[in-house]
Symmetry: C5
Subunit: 305 residues, 5 copies
């Protein structure tokens, strides 16, 4: 996620980072080339009775804009839902730790155990969603036996959640908490389970491939033919207007593609590492840990990963 | 659901699988034929004072695009809701198994029973929604008496859910769990009940038939008349532009029709078989089963069923 | 609700049932007449300096399409919410019966009592929403004293719900279920209460009358004036294009009006009778009744009521 | 809320009540005047080289229509949410009374006390939202000491809710209900608390004032300039087309403004008085009161207040 | 948030406060200058064969309007969600205080403690979201030891919430409330936790930066080029129409940017100070405090902060 320090609107026009410009530079160059070709061969093919006007492109362009709007909506909803799910980890983590601290005020070991399990949950989910190796983080956070059990499962995050649930169950077995309170904490563990399921769902189920396919085909073909439709009216202004229209359409298309997978490490993805660090800091603060890890900072491209 | 390995945007333009091109090839050919007819007879019918211009088609095209956008939204929501419901099975299944394991840590038989019932629930729902025969899967998973009871009911999935509920009730009757904990697990069973009801609702209630009817009529008529409106301006370019506009409209219409029933086995449906296999693998992993079935893979058309 | 057997797209173009064509035939005929008038008197009023062009109609048409899309969205949401509420009856009914069966496995009389009360609830709601007489159905399903109490109240469905609640309360009074379990079943009764309140809300509160009024006025005036705007360009093609544009707008308007009251018995309403029959079948199956009523079938117009 | 007896579509075109026509008559007259001015001075200012064409107005008109659609959506959502909240009062009231009746079947005094408190809650909320004096209604419904306590608070509805909560608490203190049942009823009281908070939120937080400001400015300026853009093409038809386009835009703008405050007493507001009467009738019916107040009826302008 | 006393629609056209005019005055002036430049150099560059027509700008303008509508929707949803979260504080605060009062009717000290903690929670959240110093408010409201503990944490609001939770836990430890009632109040504390998490999420996660970037670039470029496209048709009317179109687009863009961060102190942000004062007044009224702070009032620019 790109986090920009405040900028004057004028400089923002030339901002490179955080935009999707880098993804579409080639296609925009193609478009300019096409415009030049159109200007050069215009008189020749006019004579052949080949003729394109802007009217059908106007109709097509608006239709494509409506469909692009629809696809962006669908992709943006995925980002919002993903962010809400990650926000829900924070809420559930706070509820669990608050309850643990309230019910066992004099047991710092239990506080630490639960805090570590919860921190491991979010890091493991992060690694699962980004398809990176969770071993280093889990080794750092989990007791040895739990680590070994988790690491060998094909569903490590689900395993960690089970261990959180079993740890709450142990409190009940040792009569430290009643069934009613067990149920209360269990509800928050279920909340984490919903987050896990929700993130896996978003990650496994892209929006129907045909949306992407149909839109990209029509957008690319539209941008390719546009110069030939404009050249009759605009002559030497064709490249400017054509690349401007193409930028609008291609940029929205490229952005939708980026937002479709909110767990990627692109400019407009969720900053899972920063979120995990925040969750870790918050959990450690709640159990009065002495030292918190430093908060995550954007890299030199203003990108928070 | 079509799952594509990463593709360069250029090759994607010619991708056949996962698009709806196969469904609309015939209508696009018709459109090209119409365009040729329009070019051939244009001069003749012009003389008769019959004349079509693009302006009213521009208005119509945008109106149809707005309505197509609306219908796509409605159909896509059904897909998203269906996927969310199936994701909810995973969450509820995990919660139930986590609780069973926590409450009865030393009773592997109970773990296995519940895991099998839950796996049978999702396979049975799959078969019910796709109107296939559940017998083989249920026979594999259910104890004999439950199998016989389930198979003779007109609502087998609902029956399996009842058996899950009754099994939880038995734990309570045998004083293995208190009323409070019964209620807690019961809530997750209710969650499965909501999934079942929701899927049946989506499956039984198509979007109002008139939406499909009105849109298809207007789209088809629009595409048929379009060449005659374009030919006056575009002459030999009529087929190209006409088929391009028609592709945009027909493809969105065809896609909406596919998405309307998310439980079908089309290119853009939900991969219920893969989801069931995933649920089965996850349940077996949670009860520490030795062998998990292999994860589902897309077929040679990149289609995950 | 119209349920169509699968149809080839070609024949669908001429489908009469399930479309709203019958509602707008008269207005479409009017439109054709207007077009003919426009052709006949065109030259005469042109001389008077009266002149209409298509440009302002293009602007208006798109604005109206946007507003029609908005109204359709609002009306369709009502249909979806109504259907979801009825789906929720099924879920709650299943939960209640599952719990009753699990808690009182050997009391078939109690099963039958609750099943009948629940079936009566859905039939009564159906009659209340469609403003038909519930007496025959309630007499068939309710014990005599409950029937008399229900029938004399101005809110019969709410009364039946109270009797369901009181019956659950009796189980608690007789110490057959604990307070915790009472609360658990009570939650499902509350679920039915939400359905009842939601359906009454949809039924009592139409969308703001001004939406309908403004849109219908603008749509009708638009369709009436359209031929005069088209005739200058299109001459003899005016009737065709004009009736085509009018069909698009009038059909969407008529459909929105149908969807506004989802509990009516129109082509695009909810099939409440079929839903009630399904609920009855499911309840009877759950209590192992010997005979189930046959499932509802569409009538000869493919309409499921 | 305007409730219309069924009307033929033809007469509906001339319906005055329930539309927003009365609010925009003056501005429409202004528009006609402007059109006449435009016709009269057209030739004169044309000579000065001042010239307006319809093309930029087409672009602007569609942009404004899109933004009007957005604002209408936002305002309509407020109406729907407000109605849903009021529907939720009915559900919670029924749940509370059903539980009170079930738990204390032989205590008609308690039934009456709770019914009156609940009825007072909805009337007080009505008065708070419409900024009218609640004294007469509260005096009629509340016991003397509660009345005095409520009436002196700046938050009377919140106070009544507290008294409902305290009354449930008293039942618990007197051991008439257990903690579990207290919690169950408390949940419905919390439901009422959510309704109260939600209604206050809608009432206190208008949609951002800038939306209204920007849209009204652009709509009014658009309608004022439109005749000058149309007159070049349409001559004597300018007033007709101009007033038609203006009606479409001004009516949607005026309607959005009405819907923004759903608790007002305008043609398209919620009928709070009728809803309160319905809630009162339902509560009294549930406690078997002998006499119910008559249901609310629309006034002679078909307006239900 | 700008709260306007009722205004006649005519004067509203010239309202300065509450609109975003001040933010875009410079860019509108630029646009007028560009129009004048266009008029002056029009004949000269026409001769060079450089030519811009309005048709491609029409297409672009509508596409941009659709995308602006989408971005406004996304930003407005954030405002609505933020307001709903703050409304939820009121509901949860009322529930907690009602329960505390009902369970400990004779302990005014406990009432005061909880009221102060809850008031401190909302003020602290306000300061956290607006990045102001909470010390003065917390010092005023919290007991000394809690104050010191809260103030040194990097997450002060989360700390206060923990102290609320621990205070409820103490009631349970002292056997003043049972586990069931603890769980009931704990649910409301979880509600506050959700509000906290939700507000932090909105505050930390802007909408994808690329949306802002792409839209502002296209809007600014569009407004800059527009005069050159209009001047051919409109001559001396170019500045008027151009600034009108630009106002529509720039104002919507500027408004979306304001709504993106609903916790700012701009004209269209949420009035957090006023909300906190309201929460404080309500809490103090519920515990029968003698003196309430005065309600917040808009400043002389009609702005409620």
């Amino acid at each position: 996620m790109v986090i920009r320090p405040h900028q004057h609107w004028f400089f923002r026009l030339f901002d490179w980072h955080g935009s999707v410009l880098s993804k579409i530079t080639f296609r925009l160059s193609l478009n300019i080339m096409m415009s030049i070709v159109a200007i050069l061969i215009y008189q020749w093919y006019e004579q052949l009775g080949i003729h394109l006007t802007i009217a059908p492109f106007s109709l097509l362009g608006i239709a494509i804009a409506i469909f692009l709007g629809f696809r962006n909506n669908a992709c943006y909803s995925r980002l919002v839902e993903a962010r809400t799910l990650w926000g829900s980890i924070l809420t559930n983590q706070r509820n669990i730790l608050r309850n643990i601290k309230g019910l066992l005020p004099n047991d710092p070991l239990a506080h630490r155990t639960f805090a570590n399990l919860l921190i491991a949950f979010s890091w493991s989910l992060n690694h699962e969603l980004r398809r990176t190796n969770p071993k280093v983080d889990l080794y750092r956070l989990l007791p040895r036996d739990v680590f070994l059990d988790v690491i060998k499962s094909p569903y490590p995050t689900s395993r960690i959640l089970m261990h959180i649930g079993l740890s709450v169950g142990e409190l009940r077995d040792n009569n430290l908490i009643s069934d009613v309170l067990f149920q209360s904490i269990n509800k928050d563990v279920n909340g984490l389970s919903e987050v896990l399921g929700g993130c896996e769902r978003i990650s496994n189920t892209p929006i129907p491939f045909a949306y992407t396919l149909i839109l990209q085909r029509t957008v690319y073909l539209f941008c390719t033919l546009l110069p030939f439709a404009l050249v009759g009216d605009l002559h030497y202004m064709t490249p400017l207007v054509s690349v401007f229209v193409s930028y609008t359409f291609l940029a929205w298309d490229a952005l939708a593609e980026q937002l479709e997978d909110p767990f990627d490490v692109l400019d407009n993805s969720l900053p899972l590492n920063a979120l995990c660090t925040g969750l870790e800091r918050n959990a450690l603060d709640m159990i009065d840990a002495k030292q918190l890890p430093p908060p995550a900072k954007p890299n030199k491209y203003f990108n928070l990963l």
